[in-house]
Symmetry: C2
Subunit: 331 residues, 2 copies
DNA sequence: AGCTTGATTGTTAGCGCTCACATCTAGCTC
DNA sequence: GAGCTAGATGTGAGCGCTAACAATCAAGCT
């Protein structure tokens, strides 16, 4: 920086001002400094800046390491959104979302003086851990616990479930069965709630839930083996596409044809779901929008000076129904 | 740090020594310092350390943002491996892996004084971009161009392809057709090469390749529509599981049964592949091992002082065949 | 005792930046 | 022309840490 200053014939402070777009710099000076920067190939040292300002241009993300489609998509989308806003993303992948791992991850981020923290926290164990993070840390949750008093951005699970269930009802099914995701996921709960409310609102009977123990096709297959044995089952809303895939296979094995005898709707719109047999009608969450919104919330948190927002905002991003061929056509 | 030093009755430098596990600290002193650290809840400021040492405990990853199974798994695995080694991971997701985006991502990492850079660089456009990174930057490629003189860790694509092709041949198929991945991916090339060599080594005829334009089930479906029309096709090696899924569907639509009339092997072992119809025999890359190895290479790069390694190491991690039901049983 | 040795601890400087403040200029008013 | 303002620039300190060196001390030797 001193070299740049010398070459431009100004003080280091003026260089700093140019770098940070401070208003009071004469245009002529600015150009001269910029030229010197270019000539010397100077790149500011972010560590030094972080040291003095107390924050780096980094956003810390805490996420359970997984290749599950939802979290992975969210992470990818968030990375893009941050890069566009000029923030680096430091990811702390943790194996288990338990209190200890979580706290360690947050603290590591804090040591690095991240500007803010985003937690992809779809399961319960995360929420109690979040409580233990100091209030003044700018933290926003994605897909987290709505009862925790922190800004939260989620896919509108209930709305997605409503879309799916309503679609099935509209096609003339008397009721809709539900294979739910694992109970500790907020996603599962939201989808159950949306499904149930849609049924009761429509005056339809609410059949018992078939709970899956994880999001895998294997679990879907298990549930499917039950569903296939029950002649009265004509419509199923699966909590995600992979569960739906397993159900599809179980149904196929027992000769129950989709969509002629049974209609199915999934959730997630995984890229390959259009090529299941048959192509799966599903609900597409808008991950990009979720990512952008959560980034916006963190950044707002930063710009607002001292007082933390009184009402932590909750934002739900409504998903969209993608119609394919796993639901019987209107007659 | 000064507070800790005062409380422990030592100098700040001794605190620093304890923190960095320097040898010459008396045990009694060490304990006292540790106690003071605990009592004060002191956490070292990594930015300050990065400033003075010139490197942060961060490893920068450059990856094309995508939810493709391979890259996503690699990224997740690398995150875990780094966390275990005490390194934070800063991810620069870029939309396009072109020279400009790539260079910007690398420079951003360099500004942050990352300890090393890992590039998940499965396509050609990345390799020329890598050439422009200064030689002395510790950089290792994952799944990158073998002709670039940089340390490289890859899944052993050719070996995986050999496993798949050999398996099909062993089950009595005269030859094996191949639906390849997009041409600009090194993965595709390695798999093609392994497939072709296995066939020629076995004296089998080498049928024309059906190239897919991307890794999607949609592309697999297109290729499958061709394959289904050719009665002589009895065995197919698909360059990944999602292509295989599309092929499966095309075959199913035209009444060609798998595995009775056509056998298929995929690549990737995506979690749901066991629930395709029929369950897919596939090749499982050892992503964890790839991640661990690449981390090891970066860290070696660091410890070796000044002289960069003369021979950049290339490491291939052999994958494993996972047998399921998409290949006809031995007669 | 006087000297060396090595282990342990303290002292000083400075990494590259930003902040708070001091200074300087030009343009205005009266 | 003195006095003021506001914009443009410079100065000095210090963020929290580590590297290099200096200082201390106990132990072992001649």
């Amino acid at each position: 920086m001193t070299d740049v200053a010398a070459l431009a014939g100004v003080s280091h402070q003026t260089v700093s001002r140019v770098l940070n777009n401070h208003p009071n710099v004469r245009e002529r000076t600015r150009v001269r400094v910029l030229a010197a920067i270019a000539e010397l190939g100077y790149r500011p040292n972010r560590a030094a800046k972080a040291l003095v300002t107390g924050r780096s241009q980094i956003i810390g993300v805490v996420a359970q390491s997984s290749t599950l489609f939802g979290p992975a998509s969210l992470l990818a989308a968030f990375g893009i959104a941050s890069a566009e806003a000029g923030f680096a993303v430091s990811v702390a992948s943790i194996r288990q979302l338990d209190r200890a791992s979580f706290q360690e991850a947050v603290e590591r981020h804090l040591d690095q003086r991240v500007s803010g923290i985003v937690v992809i926290a779809p399961v319960e164990t995360a929420s109690e851990a979040i409580q233990s993070v100091a209030e003044d840390v700018p933290l926003v949750m994605i897909d987290g616990d709505p009862t925790v008093p922190r800004p939260l951005v989620t896919v509108d699970q209930a709305e997605g479930a409503r879309l799916a269930t309503r679609h099935l009802l509209d096609r003339g099914h008397e009721t809709v069965w539900h294979v739910s995701g694992p109970g500790e996921w907020f996603d599962s709960r939201g989808r159950i709630e949306g499904w149930r409310r849609t049924l009761t609102d429509a005056g339809a009977e609410v059949p018992p839930i078939l709970p899956a123990s994880d999001w895998s096709a294997a679990s879907g297959y298990q549930a499917g083996q039950m569903l296939a044995r029950m002649p009265e089952v004509s419509a199923v809303f699966a909590a995600n596409d992979h569960l739906a895939l397993g159900i599809l296979r179980a149904l196929h094995e027992r000769g129950r044809s989709v969509p002629d005898q049974v209609s199915i709707v999934g959730f997630d719109d995984v890229p390959e779901s259009g090529y299941f047999i048959p192509p799966l009608t599903t609900v597409r969450p808008e991950f990009d929008e979720v990512a952008r919104t959560s980034l916006r919330l963190v950044l707002e948190h930063l710009s607002e000076d001292c007082p933390p927002p009184v009402t932590p905002r909750h934002v739900s991003i409504p998903p969209v129904l993608v119609e394919r061929n796993s639901v019987r056509p209107p007659h």
